[in-house]
Symmetry: C2
Subunit: 338 residues, 2 copies
DNA sequence: ATCGGCAGCTAAACCGGTTTAGTAATGGAA
DNA sequence: TTCCATTACTAAACCGGTTTAGCTGCCGAT
């Protein structure tokens, strides 16, 4: 970046101001001069420094994303890569980049948001994995950092939300199982600290209640494979074990299915299983996993778009509602044993 | 960021320069004054603007990572999340952040690097998935963007490399299979455009040759699940099908294993299978997958460290060699059928 | 008594852009 | 012919830091 606006200015025989006007398509320079300036800029290979531009405009031209997850778990989560790719499809068309932070240690999350806010590293952040009583929304207000949340928090939040309702998918899964004759349908949920952990549980409960079945087979797990195994073991040890289990994600479902098979159970003969996420590997299991396919790419794209429009003041303040995830029926679900 | 250095200066009754000196621990201010300034800064909640600081120092305090992969595939790849988490563990201790770009469309990759270089958005980049005749290393030299590569490119490269040799792991896998009595050991490789696709193939070849076996059962695939299925089908259709297949990653191994089982083959009774990556789901397959465990977290940490030391001029120019990946034996490999 | 040197601080230049105020030239209307 | 408006441009201020040059007051050495 040795070449600056002054170099271009003197090369074109004009002042710095004229170069700036020409570059940004502002009126104030003649068409002929504008062309001469643009050619000089091209010849010198000049691109304006974002730092200098941002200094004047108080913008950083970057969005932030903080992921607070165990890296080991993250590696099997199909959500974030696709979500991030979605963000990128939006940013590719806007002079913005994404600053990503992975916060593993406890307390690292808040530090991460502060780090992004402090020097003005980002102009806004996208909040994923919203929790029940999420301290981040207060924090971000303190830091005066604009944000978008994935789904609407249960607490009051000044930030627009981009929503994808997971209720429908879980409802469809439960109804699918009921249609197959299952009466004892369990749910192994993710952490209930997350609002998506809760909403999936509530959807499962509601669907069972609506069908006149009891919603008593719930175990809270943590979205990890070992957690899924432990929860599955706990359910299968009951006197009245379930004939079907609705898992809150594919990783737990995979681990649970494997565990049940190792116990000598046939899937789906003895136990039907559903997941959530439609991970790439899910269709290559034995049997292939019935699961719920969200569209994280679209979610990321929409979230970035809303945040950007929020930043330039063109957002109308309303939440966005995206098309809900769909049930994908494969071979891990079958008729209930009679 | 309404509060600036001038506010702090007037609050402490000193000049801007004194505040700067005090903040950065430079000599030139008395101890008493320094304390007064720091207190004023704390009271006002002032943190210096990175933009302004960077304008003077010509630094952005950010590193870049461009991932050129299909998002769908990315979602099942355990490498990048852990690798990124590793980068973060280093950056957390150094006033740097990570700018991530996912380039999906062809041609988007070069645009991504240009976008990072142009406005001076990052001070350096980490190059992953190095290819055989990688155009990026020339590009980065043109852009004058410092870099670190993962493993040493086959072509001349001015950038330091952080290496993790995948040879040992593959060799160990092949020797493990030979020890189990296998004679016909195939390899389903990733794209040979990648140097890690090539090195894995060469390691497989070398191990077989060393044992006096023929290395004729190779199929090039693309690291994807459908690709793994197609390659597996091709191998199993041969007149002399393999009794063991060494896959270049877990996703292809998973898909291949599932395909073989659907064909009625017993794993490992009829066919032994090994993967690469040690994805979280790999141990929850049926049977659990024998695979090769790398340490992407450590790799990311080391890569970021080398790049940072390169940026501040303290790097000695030598490549770093990390501990090689290890074979993890599980139940997808067993004695050869006789 | 005078001078040199140093500690402690301020003023101002500087980084590379954007933006505002101001100037010169041109054209049209009165 | 005079005056005003408009166009095309320049000079300079500005963003918020860092850094250099310079100033002041005090000390010890000559």
């Amino acid at each position: 970046m040795a070449v600056t606006i002054s170099d271009v200015a003197s090369a074109a025989g004009v002042s710095k101001g004229a170069v700036s006007l020409a570059l940004n398509g502002q009126p104030g320079v003649g068409e002929e001069t504008r062309q001469r300036i643009l050619e000089a800029a091209k010849a010198l290979g000049w691109t304006p420094s974002l730092r200098a531009r941002g200094l004047k405009s108080s913008k950083s031209y970057a969005l932030g994303l903080v992921i607070a997850r165990n890296p080991k778990l993250l590696g099997s989560d199909p959500f974030f890569p696709a979500f991030i790719a979605g963000i990128e499809t939006t940013l590719a068309e806007h002079e913005y980049t994404l600053v990503l932070t992975v916060a593993t240690a406890p307390g690292a999350e808040e530090r991460a948001y502060r780090k992004l806010a402090d020097g003005g590293r980002v102009d806004g952040v996208i909040l994923t994995d919203v929790r029940h009583d999420d301290s981040r929304i207060g924090l971000l207000q303190d830091l005066k950092l604009p944000a978008v949340t994935l789904n609407r928090p249960e607490m009051p939040s000044p930030f627009p939300a981009v929503c994808m309702d997971d209720t429908d998918g879980i409802t469809a899964a439960v109804e699918h199982l009921i249609g197959l004759g299952h009466k004892r349908i369990a749910h192994i949920g993710g952490s209930q600290a997350y609002i998506h952990g809760r909403s999936r549980r509530h959807a499962w409960e509601a669907a069972l209640t609506k069908a006149g079945l009891q919603a008593d087979l719930f175990v809270e797990a943590d979205f990890t494979a070992p957690g899924g195994v432990a929860a599955t073991e706990q359910l299968l040890a009951r006197q009245d074990p379930p004939t079907a289990i609705v898992y809150a994600n594919d990783l737990m479902a995979t681990a649970g299915q494997s565990f049940a098979q190792a116990r000598g159970l046939n899937v789906p003969g003895d136990l039907s299983i559903t997941g959530y996420d439609n991970a790439e590997f899910a269709q290559y299991l034995n049997p292939p996993l019935t699961t719920i396919a969200a569209d994280p790419l679209r979610w990321g794209r929409a979230a970035a778009l809303v945040l950007l429009s929020q930043l330039d003041g063109t957002h109308n303040g309303e939440d966005i509602e995206l098309a809900p995830p769909q049930l994908v029926v494969r071979a891990s679900t079958g008729p209930a044993r009679t």
